[in-house]
Symmetry: C2
Subunit: 320 residues, 2 copies
């Protein structure tokens, strides 16, 4: 044990200059920041456990990226602008190569979205990474789960299912194409597009547990249901290369994608498409909100599709 | 595995009514809160790992208490009023008795200080508890580590050293008096007194790593040193019952006490004593800030005392 907690922080986690609104960053009992008047503060916290949220062979830089990305994805799903983060890092040993890679992955993503690390804790124990992020959104403009209403159009960003396909390959010991593996290891939080959606979309959620499971949470919170055209969900080249029914299972049930699923009033659909074009982000309209609870899946020809889709429960096991 | 993550949250961690300033609590992608205008937001995050920050036989209610208490202690050391918290709980199994006890300990302390749990994450893995707390303090009034100046009087609350004495007994398999064990398992964060100190005291830190180690951090951040009368540090009845040199080692080097150590300008000393009386809290003046770096310990008769005091490094091992 060559480095103390203080050495680790000083060497890998104290970066300057401080970002906007930071009065006092890493190094005191607590950090001090100045929220902007008239905005709501948006708070998310997610934990990654080795072997559960990332394979044991995941590169340290990817763990650093992902630990922050999954949290930024939560802010994106609220339409918030990221501002500050705290990091609780539990490590079995001090491995400077690991710390260098991890901090590089973390700070590269933080820098892209203007996030300042202002505090946290470093402890010894089984590898666990908890990140807490703070963002801001204009008061009353946050995208909540409970704002979907019948008649609204349902959208999803990107190509859900890729991360789960990659994970299956990794767990089976197969060689996974690096671009596909990136979909698992380096999810891209839809931060800029999420902020554009605040004021345009109604309800939103990020797809971490699987598209149907997360859409189900959104609809349940909103007290309604939906009809989803499963063939309208964009399919990546990797999912197009496998059997149709397996591809659908990944698209509808795969977790860890960190895409956004959201509902939009009919008169805002064109504006949402324009926002996506501005962000260079592919989105697809996949269904419509209906009054009856539950999700009714159909194929492109209108025939019903019976989706048996376990959502990923980050605590329990996959539920069938 | 009978309970899912959602069941656990619904059963043990969703409490109403929401506290002040909460727009959206547990259950969305992120929480929404409204900070008060003109105040700084104070952010702390600390992790407890089983076997490292609490003995494996610690009662679940005590773990819930301590996980929040150590964070509230950081807010107290900044002079902040607690407001909201997030909880990242990593559990090896779902044990409903454990969850019931843990949440009871957590929420009892939260309720005493008006803290609302607004979000977090529940994952499966080795037992690790990370709590992130948010408080508020009038702009410019936070107690920082770097505000000590020569001539200021140094104070400490309570009787430092008790927690380390208790831990030594627990680790040695001895029977530890329950009131002493409480000093380890249920530290009392000095939240109300900390708020009184904002505007009265200058620099402050909480004693988590040991009195001399933490005072050293404060002095280093302030660019000065101190003279400490080790006999002025209040000694509990348990520490009075052991050998003087061992008692001093616990008082000066023992961690986990969560007392406050702070510096006060001479003209505020009486006001600080009055604040302590109002809070029913024992405090003691233990030394004086001096320009020369380093801590010079003396006995009551003025003779030098050579303190060899390892600070507790929460990452590494005890350092000698």
């Amino acid at each position: 044990m060559s480095l103390s907690e203080f050495d680790i922080i000083a060497r890998y986690f104290r970066r300057s200059p401080a970002g906007s609104g930071v009065e006092l960053g890493v190094g005191d009992d607590a950090a001090l920041v100045s929220p902007s008047p008239g905005r709501s503060l948006v708070l998310a916290m997610d934990t990654l456990v080795e072997g559960r949220h990332f394979p044991a062979d995941t590169r340290p830089a990817d763990i650093g990226h992902k630990a922050l990305a999954v949290n930024l994805s939560d802010l994106a799903a609220m339409g918030a602008e990221p501002a500050w983060a705290l990091l609780a890092l539990t490590l079995p040993t001090v491995d400077e190569d690991w710390l260098r890679g991890f901090s590089e992955g973390f700070f590269t993503l933080a820098g892209r979205f203007g996030v300042t690390l202002v505090g946290g804790d470093t402890t010894r124990g089984p590898l666990t990474v908890t990140v807490q992020v703070l963002g801001q959104v204009a008061a009353g403009r946050a995208l909540r789960r409970d704002a979907a209403r019948p008649g609204q159009h349902l959208f999803v960003t990107g190509t859900p299912g890729d991360a789960a396909l990659a994970l299956e390959g990794v767990l089976a010991g197969e060689s996974v194409a690096s671009a596909l593996r990136e979909r698992l290891d380096r999810p891209e939080p839809r931060v800029v597009f999420g902020q554009r959606l605040a004021g345009l979309a109604c309800a939103a959620i990020d797809v971490s547990d699987g598209l149907l499971a997360d859409l189900g949470h959104l609809l349940e919170a909103s007290g309604c249901g939906a009809r989803v055209d499963v063939d309208a969900i964009p399919r990546s080249r990797w999912l197009r290369a496998i059997d149709d029914s397996r591809a659908l299972a990944f698209q509808l049930g795969g977790g860890d994608d960190y895409e956004l699923c959201f509902s939009v009033d009919a008169d805002q659909v064109e504006a949402v498409h324009e926002a996506a074009r501005d962000c260079g982000l592919a989105i697809a309209e996949i269904g419509i909100v209906e009054p009856q609870p539950g999700i009714r899946c159909v194929r492109a020809d209108g025939s019903p599709f019976e989706a048996v889709v376990p959502g990923f429960d980050h605590f329990g096991d996959r539920r069938g």
